[in-house]
Each structure stands twice: as structure tokens, then as C-alpha cells.
């Protein structure tokens, strides 16, 4: 009989524990009792719920072998003699038991704290209730000015409420910041229109005319408000343990030793409910360490808790706040710049040689280096560190760079010397930077320190990056490659810089891509407006916007494919690809397609490919917006736009997401109130889900935002850099992108809008431009001295009733495990 493990609670730490235990010792038969109606979710990002991120997106649930999760079933008693956990409806025997019950929100004893309109800030259900209450109302009070309180205040602001913070301590974030730091933070927050009263506590709440009235400990100070949120700290949920006689700490929490074992050796406690050697940790990272310790113990190991790094760095209401190492010490040096709203404090040993800790408000750039230096020498010059945040100097190998995953500088330098040459590879190799991401700037510095120069030069002929060449072309008005390379490059060019410059000229409105000197720059696919295949023939892809096509047009494609004997296949982008076209047949094929109303699908270009759609409201029972119409509109708007790499998009008509929009460069998902726009998604070699850029916007705002996103990408991305890598590489990531194209922080939105307007106005079908131009048609010949003679070396064979390049069958049989699937390019 297998060993039975029962886990009480399915939160972030509990989930990490399940993953660890199933990985290390799959022989456990695990039952999880989860009181909430949904499985584990990312509570650290809870506020993102008000930013349009759905409960599903916050979910951390995954199917694990050997694990049964009982949702909505709370444990009500533990019988340690019988070794059984009871819920209201069942009994679960255990060999080992783990408490991962977390905390509950602390509500100070206060008259009226149980009235309607008074909430805590802990679960998705709490947030849904707050959202429902806030609808149509205008004012909210948050009790608590710590981490959680500021999160809650941010949430109320996002819901459109005037927000008041009431904090009992004399300044904000009193557990992380000193008085000066708290003061600077208060300045920032008040600038956002949030009111802050510190040194103030609520004394009673009463209902008045459908609203709430809260009196305080300060004479005459009272608040009339629509809702009150308690966010004044948490307490460990240890009642169940107390009831069954397990030892708890004086200030609450289940007492454990460094192996997370409780007073009962068959019972462990992890996460916020554990009082490890008397200390409760309210952060997720120490909880994860405990999860790993217990998983190791259950697999027969002897791991002990390695100690907690309580450093934190966060962006609260747009303000950087960080605290690391010791809060106070023998020697402290501070820097305060009220004009810029920055404050820094470093705590040093009495000889000023060793960094013990510190805090940063307003600018947390030096945080990764400083945090990694705690316990060692102060990195760089103190005055520079404090004033500009610029740091030079190197860390010892033992310094921990990524505290979430406990990766040291030495491990990262080792990975670099073994060939990791960018941040993505370091992440994959060492896991550094994969959790909170705050050490990513540090990883870049270490790459530089390891001698990895990340050259942005396009090729040996241009030292500039693609973005720099784009600016040069835009500013100088240069319209030819020869002039650009003569003035800003060297040599004759190559297959890297020529197509790059061709794309830049096309993006900046250079007429037909085969006009004049531009013709010589185009990659072969662009030169023949078709995709070259392995045997030198081409594939032809007409545009089918949104994937919607009439029966008559389908028949035309069938007739053309039959007449020119082309292999046909439905593509992943909801259109039809015709393969095996000889170069001399391309104009004849396109004459027929253009006459039937088709136009180029740009499958050959670094340009917009397709905008996929789901079925849409007209037919689907579930759709909430007309996804097909939107997909067609978007595809027609952006068709022909030349970009650093191909662009793919999709529109889903509801949250079921049938169009797989989040795997696209820009994906749109309909909501009850409008559209959510996600950007930077990718399938391919490195799949990535797109990030939410804006939510619940109307169609006009959606299109304007996409316009700007695309034009900003076209102007600033590297050669062959997809939007996913581009967004990741932006300093500040998606938040920075939002500041630029939604809030217009750089003042360039008008220019981006104008550039897209010009693109839309000047679009013309490239294939129509060829078949109406005898000079361009001349190039589509098999041989210059025998234009109509087909290349005699091209041969085909028949497989599954269609034609394939000769040798297909032989290739498929020589391949490894290709079960009847021909190897295709």
C-alpha cells in the first residue's frame, strides 16, 4: 500500500510543495484539502486582477500525478491518534500531514467591522466582492499603510475610486522603511491623488444612508465613504493545529524546527502558518524554501531551512521601493533628494567596510547589486551609489544574485563560460531571474563582465543596429541602399544588411518593393513575391482576411491549383498555401487570383501575415464581440506593413480564446465591455504568452493602441527580433511600453499615429503592381535566354494523391521516426 500524504491548504507554498514532492518521490498518494472554491493562484499578483488579469490567468494549478485536490472542502478536524483528517463530508487517513493553511487577514477589534461594505484583502472572492461594491460608487478607505495596504489602495484607484489610506504607524511601510523613506513614499502617493493619514486608527464604523461613517482616534477626524478595506496585516491560520494539540508559538503560528517538523514528528507546517523557531515569515520565498525542505525530508533527505532573505523590491503605485539586509546598524548613511522624490539609506559595519543592508525609495536601480553585496564589501563609491544609482565594481562569486532561486554569481559566471550568451539562456540554464525578475539587470551586467559583448551591429557592413539605421534613414531622407552604405557603412553589402535596409525603406514608404534599386536588395522571397521551397519552386499564398472566404473564391483557388498542378495545404494562419509553382508560372497564377479579387498574402515578407479569428458572435453561442469583423478590419489595416520580422495576430470573441490570440505578436480577446489587447506572444521555438497591454477598451482605442505598438516596434526593434523578444528587451518591459504608447511619456504618439495613417493610405497590392508592369514581369522567367522553358531539373512525384518534390518518399524513409509524414520545409 502506498504512503498517504495529506496537505491542508492549496496556496502558493502548498502548490510549490506538491510540485517538489511529486518530483522527488512519486510514490506518495497525496490528497489536498482546499477550502477555497478554486485551486492555488498567484496571491502575490492579486492586484493584477483589477488590471484586467483574470482569475484563470492567476492560477498556478497544474495536474500532478498522484495528487487529488478536493476543492471547496475545508479540513475541520485532525485526529492525531487515529491519524485522520476530517472534512464536513469525509475522512482522510494519513501517514504524514502537512499544514499549509497560510494566514487570514487581521481585522482589529472595532465596532461595525462586520457591516456590509467592509472587506478584507486576501482572496479572489474578496476582490470580486470589492469590485461589485465599488461599481457606481466613488470613495474608499483602506486601513493599513504597509505593503498590503498600498496594494489595496492601488486596487481601489484602478476601480476608479477616490482613495484614502489610514495607517496607525507614524509613517507608511513602517516595517520596511524608516521615517524619511516613508515620507518620500507618501509624497509620491499623494501626487497620485491618494490621501494618506498616518498615526491614525479607526475607532468605530456605522452605516449611514447607504454609506459608511468611520470615526478615528484623532479629534474631529472622521471619514464618510462607500467601502472600507482592512489591509492591516495577517495572522497565521493555526486554529486547526491548536484544536488537535499541536504546539503553537506565543504570538501564533505552528511551532517548527528547521526541518519544518511540528511537535508531532508526522506533522509538518510550511509557509505563513509556520512559526519556524518562533518566527513567522510573510513572504513567499522563505515559504518556497520550507516546501523544498519538507519534500526532501519526505523523500528521505535531511534538508534544513537555509535561512530567509527578507529583501523586497516592488513597484507600488508606480513607485520603486526596496529594502534589503539589515534595517538598522552601527553606521548608516543616507541620501535624500526631495525634488526627484528619491531616498536611499545604506547600513554599514562600524568600520564602514561591510554592507549590512539598506533601503531605496523612488529609484531602485542599484538594488540587485546592493542586495547581492550584503555581507561583503560596499560595491563602488558610496556617494555615486547613493546619488546616481550608478554602480561599478564586481561582486564576489559567493554573492547570491537571484534570491528567489538561490543562484550565486559563481554559478551564473560558470554558465556564461559554458556558452550562455544572453539573458534568456542564463534563465534557462540556471533558473536565475525566472521568478520575480528583479535580478535581470544584474544578469546583463554579469554578461558584460563575462566578456559577452552583445553587438547590435547589423552585419560587417554596418556598425549600426537596425533601429539606428531606421533613424538615420528617417532623419536624412536617404532613399537608396547605395547612398546609405556609402555614407554610413562600408563595402558592398550582403544578405543581412540588404534586406534589412529594404525593409526599412519599405516601412518608411518607399513605393513598390521591386522599384528601381530596391529590387536588388530584396531577399529572394521578396524579389519573386513568393516563398522559395527546397527544389527551387515557390509557394503561393493569397490573403484571406480573418480566414473568411466565399465558396466562389474557394473554387478559384481550387481551379488555379488544378490548372498549374499545385500541392495545396491549409496553413495554421487560416489560409491556403499552394506549393510547387514554377517561377515562370507565378505571374499567370497571380493574374487569375487578382482577377478573382485576391491579393498578396505577404507570406514571403517580414510583414503582417494573418489575423486569425474564431467563429464570432454571428454563429457562436458564446461570443461576446464580433471577432471575425474585427480580424478582417485589422488584417486589411495592417496588410503590407514591413517590419523587422513577421507579424501574426488573432482575435477571439470571448474568454474561451479559440483563436489562440495570446500566442500572437498582438492578440485581441473580447470582453463583455470591449476588448483586451495582449502583445508580445509567440509560438515557434520559444513559445511565450502575450502580456496584457490594455483591457476593456472600445474598438477605436484598440486600433489606435495597436497602431502605436506596431509603429514603435517597426522603429526600434533589431533585425529579425520578434515582438516577444523586443518586449522582453525593453527596459521596463510591458509597463514601459504602456507608458510610451498609452500615456505618451516620450511624446511620440502623434508621430506613430501619423506613420500608420500614411501606411494605410498608401497601401497597394504588390502582385497587382507586378502583373500590370511589363518591366517587372520580365524577371519572372526560368531562363533569361529561354523564358518559357521549364527548368528541366525540377521533378515531382505523387504522394497521397498530390505532387511533391522528387525524392520525398526516399527522404521520409531515411528520416528517424517519420511515420508516413514527408519531411517538409
Amino acid at each position: 500500500m502506498s504512503k498517504r500524504l495529506v496537505v491542508i491548504g492549496d496556496g502558493m507554498v502548498g502548490r510549490r510543495f506538491l510540485e517538489a514532492v511529486t518530483q522527488r518521490d512519486p510514490s506518495w498518494d497525496v490528497t489536498v484539502l482546499c477550502e477555497e472554491p478554486r485551486p492555488a493562484y498567484d496571491r502575490v499578483r492579486l492586484s493584477a486582477f483589477f488590471d484586467g488579469v483574470s482569475a484563470e490567468e492567476l492560477s498556478l494549478a497544474s495536474d500532478l500525478d498522484g495528487v487529488t485536490v478536493r476543492l471547496g472542502e475545508a479540513a475541520v478536524a485532525v485526529d492525531r491518534d487515529a491519524k485522520v483528517v476530517r472534512s464536513a463530508s469525509a475522512e482522510y487517513p494519513y501517514d504524514k500531514l502537512v499544514f499549509a493553511t497560510g494566514s487570514y487577514a487581521f481585522v482589529p477589534p472595532m465596532e461595525g467591522a462586520d457591516l456590509d461594505g467592509v472587506f478584507v484583502y486576501r482572496t479572489i472572492e474578496d476582490l470580486e466582492a470589492i469590485k461589485a461594491r465599488a461599481a457606481g460608487r466613488r470613495h474608499g478607505v483602506v486601513i493599513g499603510g504597509g505593503l498590503l495596504g498600498l496594494e489595496a489602495a492601488n486596487a481601489l484607484t484602478l476601480l476608479g475610486l477616490e482613495t484614502q489610506i489610514v495607517e496607525f504607524a507614524p509613517w507608511l511601510m513602517a516595517r520596511q522603511l524608516d521615517e524619511a523613506g516613508g515620507g518620500v513614499l507618501k509624497q509620491h502617493i499623494e501626487k497620485l491623488g491618494i490621501k494618506v493619514d498616518c498615526g491614525t486608527g479607526g475607532t468605530a464604523i456605522e452605516a449611514r444612508d447607504g454609506r459608511l461613517h468611520m470615526t478615528t482616534n484623532r479629534d474631529g477626524l472622521a471619514f464618510d465613504t462607500d467601502l472600507i478595506v482592512f489591509a492591516a496585516g495577517v495572522r497565521p491560520r493555526d486554529q486547526l493545529a491548536r484544536d488537535c494539540g499541536i504546539a503553537v508559538g506565543e504570538r501564533g503560528g505552528i511551532t517548527t524546527d528547521l526541518s519544518c517538523a511540528t511537535s508531532d514528528p508526522d506533522v509538518y507546517a510550511i509557509g505563513e502558518v509556520a512559526a519556524m523557531e518562533g518566527v513567522c515569515y510573510g513572504l513567499v520565498a522563505p515559504g518556497y524554501s520550507m516546501a523544498e525542505v519538507v519534500a526532501d525530508r519526505l523523500a528521505g533527505g535531511e534538508a534544513t531551512f537555509p535561512g530567509a532573505d527578507l529583501s523586497t523590491k516592488l513597484k507600488l503605485l508606480g513607485v520603486d521601493v526596496a529594502q534589503f539586509g539589515a534595517f538598522d546598524g552601527p553606521l548608516a548613511t543616507t541620501y535624500l533628494d526631495p525634488a526627484n522624490g528619491t531616498y536611499a539609506k545604506l547600513v554599514l559595519s562600524d568600520d564602514a567596510q561591510t554592507l549590512l543592508g539598506g533601503m531605496l525609495v523612488g529609484n531602485a536601480e542599484p538594488y540587485p547589486l546592493l542586495r547581492a553585496s550584503v555581507g561583503g564589501k560596499v560595491p563602488g563609491n558610496l556617494a555615486d551609489l547613493l546619488s546616481s544609482g550608478e554602480v561599478e565594481g564586481t561582486l564576489p562569486d559567493a554573492a547570491q544574485v537571484c534570491s528567489c532561486n538561490a543562484v550565486t554569481k559563481g554559478q551564473i559566471m560558470g554558465a556564461i563560460s559554458e556558452g550562455c550568451c544572453d539573458v534568456a539562456e542564463i534563465k534557462a540554464c540556471t533558473k536565475a531571474g525566472t521568478s520575480c525578475g528583479s535580478c535581470v539587470p544584474m544578469l546583463k551586467q554579469l554578461l558584460a563582465e563575462g566578456g559577452v559583448e552583445v553587438s547590435k551591429a547589423v552585419c560587417e557592413h554596418f556598425t549600426q543596429s537596425r533601429a539606428e539605421l531606421f533613424d538615420i534613414v528617417k532623419v536624412t531622407g536617404i532613399t537608396t541602399f547605395s547612398e546609405l552604405i556609402a555614407r554610413h557603412g562600408t563595402g558592398a553589402g550582403c544578405d543581412l544588411c540588404k534586406p534589412t535596409v529594404a525593409s526599412i525603406l519599405a516601412s518608411l514608404g518607399g513605393g513598390h518593393i521591386l522599384d528601381g534599386e530596391q529590387a536588388a536588395l530584396q531577399d529572394t522571397n521578396d524579389h519573386f513575391l513568393a516563398n522559395m521551397q527546397r527544389n527551387g519552386t515557390y509557394s503561393v499564398v493569397p490573403r484571406i482576411p480573418g480566414g473568411e472566404i466565399t465558396p466562389d473564391k474557394l473554387i478559384v483557388i481550387g481551379e488555379v491549383a488544378k490548372e498549374f498542378d499545385l500541392y495545396t495545404k491549409i496553413t495554421g494562419g487560416q489560409r491556403i498555401d499552394m506549393f510547387g509553382a514554377r517561377v515562370e508560372d507565378l505571374p499567370k497564377i497571380w493574374r487569375k487570383l487578382v482577377d478573382a479579387g485576391f491579393e498578396s498574402g505577404h507570406a514571403y515578407g517580414k510583414a503582417l501575415r494573418t489575423v486569425k479569428s474564431c467563429v464570432g458572435t454571428d454563429w457562436c453561442r458564446y461570443g461576446v464581440q464580433d471577432s471575425v469583423k474585427m480580424a478582417i478590419d485589422l488584417e486589411l489595416r495592417y496588410r503590407g506593413l514591413r517590419s523587422p520580422h513577421k507579424l501574426k495576430s488573432a482575435v477571439s470573441g470571448c474568454a474561451r480564446e479559440c483563436a489562440e490570440a495570446r500566442g500572437k505578436d498582438f492578440g485581441i480577446i473580447a470582453t463583455e465591455d470591449g476588448w483586451n489587447l495582449y502583445v508580445g506572444g509567440n509560438g515557434g521555438f520559444t513559445p511565450r504568452h502575450a502580456d496584457l497591454l490594455v483591457s476593456d477598451v472600445d474598438s477605436e482605442t484598440l486600433v489606435r493602441t495597436i497602431d502605436r505598438f506596431l509603429m514603435f516596434y517597426v522603429a526600434t526593434a533589431d533585425r529579425l527580433q520578434r515582438t516577444s523578444k523586443w518586449v522582453e528587451a525593453l527596459e521596463g518591459g510591458i509597463d514601459y511600453l504602456r507608458e510610451v504608447i498609452v500615456d505618451d511619456r516620450l511624446g511620440i504618439c502623434a508621430e506613430l499615429d501619423a506613420a500608420m495613417a500614411e501606411h494605410v493610405a498608401n497601401y497597394a497590392d504588390e502582385w497587382k503592381g507586378v502583373i500590370d508592369d511589363p518591366e517587372k514581369l520580365q524577371r519572372f522567367v526560368s531562363f533569361v535566354n529561354s523564358p518559357e522553358t521549364p527548368d528541366p531539373s525540377i521533378e515531382f512525384e505523387t504522394v497521397r494523391g498530390q505532387k511533391f518534390p522528387a525524392g520525398t518518399t526516399a527522404r521520409s524513409h531515411s528520416g528517424p521516426v517519420l511515420l508516413g509524414t514527408p519531411e517538409r520545409k
Binding site: A492, G493, C494, T524, M532, V784, S786, S793
Partner: protein, 118 residues
């Protein structure tokens, strides 16, 4: 002036600077003819030795470290226009043909021994 070994393939003006065309010679050989920006001409076999397709004429020309090259449109290997040598794989090469312009006509001649071409 006319050399029997040379075959006229097209008018010089038909060539776009920086691009190539394919020609079918009387003996069935397929040749890629390139016109560079300085109006110089190069003729090489049209067959990509890696994939076996006759597509070299559709590759992009340029230079690598000053050496004029054409890049295969299939897998992007670079070949020296003067010698036919593949700069990415010394085992592979293209044959080089003599080429000239006479009376505004591009004419392709016999294969040139590799190394002698310049």
C-alpha cells in the same frame, strides 16, 4: 571578334545591378550570371551544391570581408564570385564560367579552371 565558344544570353541592359539571371546553355548547363554595382559580370553554375536546386541566380550578392560573394537563397551559404569557392564549407564550390560583354550582349563562355579565374 565572335568566339564560337561564347553563347549570347541576353542584352546587358536586361541585368539589374546587384542581381542575377539564369541562362540555359546549348549543352544543357544552367548558369547564373550576376551584374555587380560596378557593372562587372560573373558567371557560375546555377546549381546549389547543398540542396541540388538550380537557384543560385536568385541569391543576393554582396561582399564578405571585401570578397565579392553570392549567397544561396536556400540555406544562405556564401560563395566567392571569382572562384566559386564556398566560404562556409571548403568541400563545396560552384563552377566558374567565362563571361563577357560584346555589342551590348552578355555572352557566356567555357568553364574556367578554379584558381585561374580572377
Amino acid at each position: 571578334m565572335t568566339d564560337a565558344r561564347f553563347e549570347a544570353v541576353c542584352a546587358f541592359d536586361r541585368l539589374i545591378p546587384g542581381r542575377g539571371v539564369a541562362a540555359l546553355l546549348a549543352d544543357g548547363a544552367q548558369v547564373a550570371v550576376f551584374r555587380l554595382a560596378d557593372d562587372s559580370l560573373h558567371a557560375l553554375s546555377n546549381r546549389d551544391p547543398f540542396m541540388g536546386a538550380n537557384v543560385m541566380s536568385r541569391g543576393l550578392v554582396g561582399d564578405r570581408g571585401g570578397e565579392p560573394v553570392v549567397t544561396s537563397p536556400l540555406l544562405k551559404q556564401a560563395f566567392a564570385l571569382k572562384t566559386g569557392e564556398c566560404l562556409d564549407d571548403p568541400a563545396a564550390s560552384l563552377e566558374v564560367y567565362a563571361v563577357e560583354v560584346a555589342d551590348g550582349e552578355v555572352r557566356v563562355g567555357a568553364k574556367v579552371a578554379v584558381g585561374a579565374a580572377a
